[in-house]
């Protein structure tokens, strides 16, 4: 018998450059999330799960995880993506090994605007000599996707503008404006707005208004060996029932939060859930502004989870009762996690 997993509380900070040290911002965000979860303190947490990049800070995350309150507790680091970290925490809770998990993710994304260190993610023998840096990979994907004609250049430009407005207009994510220098001369659809961010989420097996009911994943390598570059196809693959098990993630949800590293990938990922090419104009789709409009690395997906959970928690008649969150990480969004959230009793 699996335990239910609920989102008990969360907090986040996003800005072009963090004010204060990373440690102090993480400390404040963790404290706020723990308070929001109604816990007396971080000592009530069984395990801390971090998602952050070693390379970005030049120091391994696990040995310094005490800045995320890991000391004295069980600990896990899942740096590959927020979705993977959420999935790991979820199954540990579902199987009764833990009762409360604190997920903490961070990244000083502004460093990637100055110098894209993701270049060392590529196969050193074949991809790197060809110059297959993340920007080149994303450009190849964009060419392929735009050539298919599902979205016009104008629609893509409108999408980017709308997501930027939604991000800047979100009171919880202040002062995210402007484009970093590295984006000059880059087509709109490939512009990632790198920011600094910290997010913390408390998951629990205790009853709370918003429940995480399903997790599904799909993935490809740095350059997909099957040649498939469409993120919508990866999402469909993730949510496809397997072993005849019904997948709640495959059902339509009231809310949709999709985050990828580039706008063009993000816009095409939305196609997995909505047929309408202009679906992004719907306020129920990426109300938080998506991932590319304020990206701080693999942990960015935590913001999508927080945004969806916050809206669901508000409750009330006619309010959304379910949400789907899609987290696409990697230069072309090739590491996909899809989550299904539901409001209890809905």
């Amino acid at each position: 018998m699996l335990k239910p997993v609920c989102i008990a509380g969360a907090a986040s900070r996003v800005s072009p450059r963090l004010r204060g040290t990373l440690e102090s911002v993480i400390h404040a965000t963790v404290g706020q999330a723990v308070d929001a979860a109604g816990l007396r303190g971080v000592d009530e947490v069984d395990m801390v799960v971090t998602v952050a990049s070693d390379v970005l800070d030049g120091i391994m995350v696990p040995p310094r995880s005490e800045i995320a309150a890991s000391a004295g507790r069980q600990y896990l680091d899942v740096p590959s993506s927020a979705g993977h970290a959420i999935a790991a925490a979820t199954v540990l809770l579902e199987t009764g090994q833990l009762e409360r998990v604190l997920l903490v993710g961070w990244g000083e994304g502004h460093k990637l605007a100055d110098h894209d260190s993701r270049a060392i993610q590529a196969d050193p023998f074949h991809a790197r000599p060809l110059g297959a840096v993340p920007a080149a990979m994303a450009a190849l994907q964009a060419q392929r996707l735009l050539a298919e004609g599902r979205h016009s250049d104008d629609a893509l430009e409108a999408y980017v503008a709308l997501m930027h407005r939604r991000t800047a207009g979100d009171a919880t994510d202040p002062v995210v404006t402007g484009s970093p220098p590295a984006a000059r001369g880059v087509p709109q659809g490939l512009r990632t707005r790198w920011v600094d961010g910290v997010a913390a989420v408390v998951l629990t097996t205790a009853a709370h208004p918003v429940r995480l009911v399903d997790v599904a994943t799909a993935s490809r390598g740095y350059w997909p060996e099957d040649g498939e570059l469409d993120p919508a196809q990866w999402i469909r693959e993730a949510v496809r029932p397997h072993d005849t098990t019904p997948r709640p993630v495959a059902r339509a949800a009231d809310l949709l939060e999709v985050g990828a590293t580039t706008p063009v990938c993000e816009l095409h990922a939305i196609d997995a859930f909505r047929d309408d090419a202009m679906a992004f104009r719907d306020p129920a789709v990426n109300a938080s502004g998506g991932g590319a409009a304020a990206c701080f690395g693999p942990a960015t997906g935590l913001l999508r989870l927080i945004a969806a959970a916050t809206t669901l928690r508000a409750g009330g008649a006619g309010r959304p009762a379910s949400a789907t969150v899609a987290d696409l990480v990697g230069p072309i969004g090739q590491q996909v996690t899809v989550l299904r959230l539901e409001r209890s009793g809905a």
Partner: protein
């Protein structure tokens, strides 16, 4: 889930012979070979694997960040990647725990856990793992894994009136065990005199007290308990984890000596034993495979895992206990001091424990057929502690 209930089963295991250099193989080659080996050992088809985890830390050894994007391409279940787990040298056990949870939750049926490291990709291993420390503060003084272990060893010797010969028995035992391990990197027995007269690295740690620089790989295929072959059944029944602070000074408060007496590992063990329904590990555990990059860490692990009373491990080791023919063998494979590819070293502990429980360890099989094993890993400079309990 009640205490002692099986969480998931080990369906297949594989490891490659450990070597200083593996110039004929890339990281991706190593992963592919162990993936194939674990799937074959389980007797399933590659398409029946529906989840994959990578235990990988630190990535600086490879010089490839997020190496799953490269190394897993084309492998079974690479399109169902469930994440990279990083708990430094304890990564293998942490990833195995997550794999077991995915299976127990019914979110995957068979999950492959992979790990590999190529230590010859960098000219200096100490430099590559220098990312353990804060670049602005800790790197200004010589606190490394070696010097931290030296502090532990000196403190243990002072606290328990042990000398360097007392502390060397664990290495003699491990190196003798390694002779019979076809995957060990160091397969030559050493004498007590050779250990204590080997060149000091950071007193009292000497060259032969230390694990070598190693390239290698391991894989474990995890599945549902119902899918385990009855005659080779090995199941996971408990896990525990405990993290502490990076700075030794951060914990220098009265009554806290976790980095010096094994009590941090004991906290992880407490959780694992409670989940597994193990009351008295000294009698309930039949074999232990613990990650110990230095002899002192094996002694502290034996005490932290409550297989010996505090301060007793070195004396009992010197008296001949914990050998392969003893009631409670520790590291019958030779352990990490006979070979330790950092990312894979904790996963190798699971591979070795599984082989012992199945009775398939060949020349290194312990004398008494074991029914329950404990595995342990310590990551960072003694910060991240992972413990698991396996049984038939």
């Amino acid at each position: 889930m009640s205490a002692g209930d099986p969480i998931a089963a080990v369906l297949g295991v594989a490891q490659l012979p450990m070597r200083t250099r593996q110039p004929q193989s890339t990281f991706a080659d190593l992963l592919g070979r162990v993936a194939q080996g674990a799937i074959a050992d389980a007797g399933v088809e590659p398409h029946e694997v529906d989840g994959m985890l990578l235990a990988q830390a630190p990535t600086t050894l490879l010089g490839v960040d997020e190496p799953q994007l490269w190394g897993l391409a084309g492998l079974p279940a690479s399109t169902r990647f469930l994440g990279r787990v990083h708990a430094a040298a304890a990564s293998g056990i942490a990833a195995f725990r997550v794999a077991c949870a995915h299976v127990a939750a019914g979110r995957a049926r068979r999950v492959l856990v992979l790990a590999a490291d190529l230590a010859d990709e960098v000219p200096n291993l100490a430099g590559a793992i220098g990312q353990l420390g804060d670049p602005f503060t800790e790197k200004q003084y010589p606190r490394t894994a070696i010097t931290a272990a030296a502090l532990q060893m000196a403190a243990y010797m002072a606290a328990h009136r042990a000398d360097e010969r007392d502390m060397a028995h664990v290495i003699v035992k491990n190196r003798a065990n390694g002779v019979d391990n076809e995957c060990a990197q160091l397969r030559k027995a050493v004498t007590l005199d050779e250990v204590v007269t080997s060149p000091p690295i950071a007193w009292p740690i000497k060259r032969l007290d230390s694990s070598p620089r190693t390239s290698g790989a391991a894989a474990v295929l995890v599945g549902a308990v119902r899918d385990a072959t009855p005659t080779r059944r090995v199941v996971a029944t408990g896990f525990g984890s405990h993290a502490c602070g990076r700075m030794i000074g951060a914990q220098m408060v009265p009554g806290h000596a976790g980095q010096f007496d094994g009590s941090d590992l004991a906290r992880a063990a407490h959780g694992a034993y409670a989940m597994a329904g193990v009351g008295d590990p000294a009698t309930a555990i039949d074999v232990a495979e613990v990650y110990a990059s230095f002899g002192i860490i094996e002694l502290l692990s034996i005490e932290g895992l409550r297989l010996a009373e505090p301060g007793e491990a070195a004396r009992r080791m010197a008296a001949g206990e914990f050998g392969r023919a003893s009631r409670l063998p520790v590291n019958p494979s030779g352990g990490a001091t006979c070979g330790s590819p950092v990312s894979a070293t904790a996963l190798i502990r699971i591979v070795e424990a599984t082989l012992q429980l199945r009775g398939e360890a060949g020349a290194r099989q312990v004398a008494r057929t074991p029914r329950r094993a404990v595995v342990a890993g310590i990551g960072g400079t003694f910060q991240l502690h992972e413990v698991g309990v396996l049984q038939t």
